[in-house]
């Protein structure tokens, strides 16, 4: 049955997440202004909040699907302008290892924090264009190339690195490898200075004749499939995780828009500017109308994110819907804080309010894990029935 109600249990979980996120706000400006500092593994206030697994204990099985709840948790978290009280022990690379690694690899590296290293200076969304090479030399792979935009690339223990073992094979030649920090030839070139999300580190890597053991190939399959549209198992395994990461990234964007919206709504209410839903637009002020439209847009984006997650939780294909969610989430975090700022007026520019940080932090959501343009390409191909060669 179509339902958008949360059980009391889930409401409490989300309230807890929100309360924890709210406490993290006190550190937001500091880490925004001190981007060179790495966040501690946990802040003292973390003790007030039991770990999420503990809070989820005893949750009824027939409640809202877990994946969907996780998306909502992400929204709650990002709807606050704060830093996490506890740093996650894992990063994107862990998800890739979980999706494509062999059992032995999972057992061996599962407890490490692993970043994901795909993007190169000349290859963003176009993963086929990857230039980093991996050459088998005896029982070792030799990696050469440059990587950028590695999220958690500074604090991680190692990274899952995409490299091609055979450029002529296109996607089929792309494999992923585990490279541990400290491996000779693996250099952390720099930590990027960013517009926002400064408490999250972003690294650039260089690999110069970096030698890793042969069994560090994720998934272990050394075969190179041929043909357009093909990809190795590890390549495809990693791509598959994106069907779920896209809704999560979108949720982050939605959360940032919500955070900015709430500041504007609450501050404007103090000035007597609020939306009366019984009013027509002829009676409502332009600023109140901006709040109304923004709230509608946030709601719409939230629902597309929920829908994509709900499909995934039910084991249904969601490639199209994940891109719809990402497109909407990316859009609302671009326009949402902007419109909250329009409503607030000039003081919205000031550090007095957090809207400017929501704007900066949220701006990434329409870029990473595939820009809004890439999502539209995916959506257009799906609805038109075109292959990636037919619509470029």
């Amino acid at each position: 049955m179509v339902d958008f109600s949360l059980s009391d249990f889930d409401r409490a979980v989300l309230d807890g997440v929100a309360a924890e996120a709210r406490v993290g706000e006190k550190y937001a400006r500091y880490y925004d202004e001190h981007e060179d500092e790495v966040l501690p593994k946990s802040f003292p206030e973390a003790a007030q909040f039991p770990p999420i697994q503990q809070r989820l204990r005893g949750r009824p099985r027939d409640d809202t699907p877990m994946l969907l709840l996780q998306v909502l948790m992400r929204i709650e978290r990002e709807a606050h302008c704060g830093v996490p009280l506890r740093q996650a022990p894992t990063a994107l690379g862990n998800a890739a290892l979980g999706a494509a690694g062999t059992d032995a690899q999972k057992a061996r590296w599962g407890n490490l924090m692993l970043a994901m290293s795909i993007t190169e200076p000349g290859a963003g969304s176009d993963t086929k264009a990857i230039q980093t090479t991996a050459r088998l030399d005896g029982e070792e792979w030799v990696l050469n190339g440059d990587k950028i935009f590695v999220t958690n690339g500074v604090r991680c223990d190692g990274a899952i690195v995409w490299a091609t073992v055979d450029k002529s094979a296109g996607r089929g030649g792309i494999k992923s490898f585990l490279v541990l920090k400290g491996t000779p030839g693996f250099e952390l070139v720099r930590k990027e200075k960013k517009l926002g999300i400064r408490s999250s580190d972003t690294a650039a890597y260089a690999f110069r004749d970096c030698r890793i053991p042969r069994d560090h190939l994720i998934g272990g399959d050394e075969g190179v499939p041929r043909g357009e549209g093909e990809g190795s198992a590890s390549y495809k395994g990693v791509l598959k995780t994106f069907n779920m990461t896209r809704p999560f990234v979108a949720a982050g964007g939605v959360g940032k828009a919500i955070g900015a919206f709430r500041v504007a709504r609450d501050e404007l209410a103090k000035e007597g500017i609020a939306v009366d839903f019984d009013d027509s637009r002829h009676a409502r002020s332009a600023t109140a109308q901006t709040l109304l439209e923004l709230e509608a847009d946030i709601e719409a984006a939230t629902l597309t994110v929920m829908h994509a997650a709900w499909l995934a939780s039910d084991g249904m294909p969601n490639n199209l819907e994940a891109s719809v969610a990402k497109a909407k989430g990316g859009e609302v975090c671009r326009t949402g804080p902007q419109r909250a700022m329009d409503a607030l007026g000039a003081m919205g520019l000031s550090h007095d309010y957090q809207v400017e940080q929501y704007l900066r932090d949220g701006r990434i959501a329409d870029i990473y894990e595939g820009t809004g343009q890439i999502q539209r390409l995916v959506i257009a191909r799906e609805i038109l029935g075109y292959s990636s060669a037919e619509l470029t």
Binding site: V2, D62, T64, S280, E293, T304, W310, R376, I379
Partner: protein, 369 residues
Amino acid sequence: MISFALTEEQTQVRDTLLSFATSELATRARSADEARLSPSELLDTAWSLGFTALSIPEDCGGGGAPRSLVTSALMLEALGYGCAGLASAAFASMLFVNPLIDLGSEEQRLRYLPEFCGEKRRAASLALHEGAPAFDPARMATRAMRDGKGWVLTGTKRLVPMGEHASRLLVLARASDAPGLAGIRAFIVDSDATGVTIARDSGTLGLTAAGFARVELAQVRVPADDVLGDGEGADIRPLLASLRIGGAALAVGLARAVIDFAIPYAKERVAFGEPIARKQSIAFMLADMHIECEAMRWMVWKAAAEADAGRDAAKASVLAQDYVNRHAVRIADDGLQIFGGHGYIRDLPPEMWLRNMRVLTSHDAIAAA
């Protein structure tokens, strides 16, 4: 728990109406639009599907299915996919029946609903709009004045769907000085009561098949117990929510029709050596149309589910209507654009769909969810 899953009954109802919409409505859409009239045989066929009486309580002779705005939204989306104009004509009675089920007193239900449960088609409608520009329900000019135990209604209603055929009307009027919507009540008015004059309204941009009428109310006497609801009458806000959801649901269906018609054309139409669908400007336009159509649907579902869960759907329905109104016209307009000059000719539906969509997103009382 949160879920996007339809019940089996909902799937069935939707599929039935979708099939009706494509086979009966879509095929007659253009001729009805040009004639500015819905053919009565079609209205009879629609009536025979039995959906008007579906949720009328059993003791009134109806199907007794529990009222669900989600189900209504699914039905209207399916109908809007065929033709929103014919759909609004064929199901205008629900503008009267659904508010009676939801807000009517027990006595009102027993008195008025049985006539909608027979095999013979029975038309009724709802009168909301008025002639002043920037019409605002909270500031409407039509008045209901106390007169002894009853009421006297005075005013002019405009753009009443199927108004000329309606035997009964639900008329919204200001009944007290309570501020804003709190002072508005709905009145059950017999269309041949003294003082009621119903005539065809001026032409409209679109939805011409809906048969819009102008209703003059000159000192129309209404008995005390014909104010919708018990005693002083019910708060009409849930009715407005149902109207917002109904109109938006039709718009979602129409938007989906636009997209489904544009996609094969864009794949077939060749310009500069390849199908225009392979141009990013067209492909991304279609992608945006798809994205927004999805989002529009979930907004409608959300508002409908709020009502079904027994919560106040005022806010959710305003958000849904606002969202749909902003995006649906754009979808219809882009749909026309994809067809270029061919979209401007009345041989193909895009220009009709733009006109119909524009009306759906401006008129607040086309369908009750």
